[in-house]
Symmetry: C2
Subunit: 338 residues, 2 copies
DNA sequence: GTGAAAGCGCTAACAG
DNA sequence: CTGTTAGCGCTTTCAC
């Protein structure tokens, strides 16, 4: 510990009473006389006494730290989730430890190990793109540590989950495109193993079905990174079909798609409309502004932390899944009159 | 603690030896016989024994946690710093706790308090825009906790510092603009109290001086947020002077400036060139691509963590300041031939 | 109403 | 080479 740290013993010595009395006074124990309480508390205040969390943890009160494993911090959505989760956790007297998997399975395993070794009270996870084996998550459960998944959930483990209403978000986006007169809508989709991909594809299909537009499997293309867009978009544009809209799985891919589409001489939104997913900071900065599905990351972070802390307090509660509503934010990339 | 946790005692009991022997065996103490060491280590391995960090901390070994206070996690540069710092710290057996000030002085104070209360071994800080009073940082020093500033440093406190070569970065950017034939270069600058603002302004001035272009105070405008750009840029464009370049303090402002400039009918880079600072993900996504000064955030994070850990190990070392070089990344927003 | 003592998991000084 | 003891800061029986 560091020098400035005042302990319960110091106070006891100064006041010539026992450490246990000080402890009780500090915790407002009914046995202690008001007079003693007052003396203790005022000295504690004067000396800036702060209980040593380490000692508390060792006594068995938990570490008051929750771990978070996310793919990348450098992602508008995830950073918003972190903010929401951190704010809620802090309010409740918890601290947050963040680990990034960088979308790599091995890093995810290391992070789980690290958080477990650190004796965190609970763990919040959004699964990496490349994770197939879920063994490390089972380990968390076996160790008796509460686990909550958010956004990129793991279906094979029965835990609390918080998800975005991806299906509905995708549905709204595609419906909007259809109502704007689009017929040939390409869906640039994420890694097929992720549940969010499946859900967004379903929403896309539901909207097409509703308007009796035939669904063509070839119009659903795995493309969720800028580098992929660089070669996929040109090849799509050069194909014989006349595409009039792209519904993209994230804003970055959407922005890059927009850039490529413009370079090919198409006008946006006149010739081709584009919709993204996230509604991050770039959505306002593209030219034209990008229509995008807002995922309410901050709210999701808060809910995730809330669910995790509830479970920490009551480990036997039945698991639940909460769904965060999405919103479509329309800008000029899909509608001339937005 | 949680159920699965094996302790030194458990191992001692199983092996019918004392806990101290187990402890020594685990730490490869020379006094212990190879035979005992082997028995202990293999059982420890088998039972997945992991030393309880809480107990270690209580013994006085420190918490092996370092705190980081940054303005916003949701910022390309800062998130890169976090990644670099986290990677280095983890390598060295430390964990990281991140706090966001959201550019608010009161949050910064709370974060300092929280980290101090959590007994972190050291703190890394990048000062918020709105911080004027440095009292809370002095508190850290008084408590004997190592403190290192990065990027947005505090000059009135003698600590280790890691800064970006802002002056040189700005100089390179402006020199590049001049060599591209620009004469009337507006500098959109950050909060004037920050040292980085001053340094970038100096670099701007040095470049102009070098080419004997008169420096006009009015061409240095405080404008570092999208919302400010929304009204400042139009008023600049409508003024009588014919501006041919903007050197912006960050990529977001640059992107927004680009958008507004285009809306006013100017061609980029033909009529007006734009340069940003950060070289984040948006720099590739604007249309045209944004020329920007790369700050090497990841490297800065690593260096910061390294300096902090060095100080944790040797509190009496003289303080030092390290400078991270910047790079100019040229794209089409400033040069037709990039 | 308050104190003494034990213990959380671990290490280290002191014995043998 | 190994065991015993004490103690890190705190809470919590158990005594008085």
């Amino acid at each position: 510990m560091n020098k400035g740290d005042v302990t319960i013993k110091d106070i006891a010595k100064e006041l010539k009473i026992s450490p246990s009395t000080v402890s009780r006074a500090l915790n407002d124990h009914p046995d202690i006389s008001p007079a003693t309480k007052k003396r203790v508390n005022s000295l504690a205040e004067k000396w800036n006494y702060v209980p040593n969390p380490i000692a508390l943890s060792l006594k068995g009160g938990g570490t008051k730290i929750i771990g978070v494993i996310i793919p990348e911090i450098n992602h508008y959505f995830f950073s918003r989730v972190i903010s929401g989760g951190e704010d809620y956790a802090n309010e409740q007297g918890y601290n947050v430890m963040i680990c990034q998997s960088n979308e790599r399975y091995e890093n995810e395993i290391k992070s789980v190990q690290m958080l477990l070794d650190s004796r965190v009270d609970g763990i919040l996870v959004s699964v990496s793109k490349r994770t197939r084996n879920m063994e490390h998550f089972h380990t968390i459960i076996k160790r008796g540590v509460p686990l909550v998944f958010f956004d990129r959930i793991c279906n094979e483990i029965d835990t609390d989950r918080i998800i975005v209403d991806d299906e509905e978000g995708a549905y709204m986006a595609v419906k909007h495109l259809i109502l704007e007169g689009r017929k040939k809508i390409i869906h640039l989709s994420a890694t097929p193993t992720l549940q969010i991909s499946k859900d967004r594809i379903e929403g896309y299909i539901r909207a097409l079905n509703e308007f009796r537009i035939p669904v063509n499997e070839e119009n659903i293309v795995k493309c969720d990174e800028i580098e992929e867009a660089d070669w996929i978009i040109p090849s799509l544009l050069n194909s014989s079909q006349k595409i009039d809209a792209f519904f993209c799985v994230n804003d970055f891919t959407a922005a890059q798609t927009m850039k490529i589409v413009k370079k090919h001489g198409f006008k946006i939104p006149d010739d081709i409309a584009i919709v993204g997913f996230t509604n991050g900071r770039i959505a306002k900065l593209t030219d034209p502004g990008l229509t995008s599905v807002d995922q309410h990351g901050y709210e999701m972070g808060q809910e995730s932390a809330r669910l995790l802390l509830e479970r920490i307090k009551d480990k036997n509660r039945p698991t639940q899944t909460r769904i965060i509503k999405t919103d479509l934010v329309v800008r000029n990339s899909s509608s001339p009159t937005a």
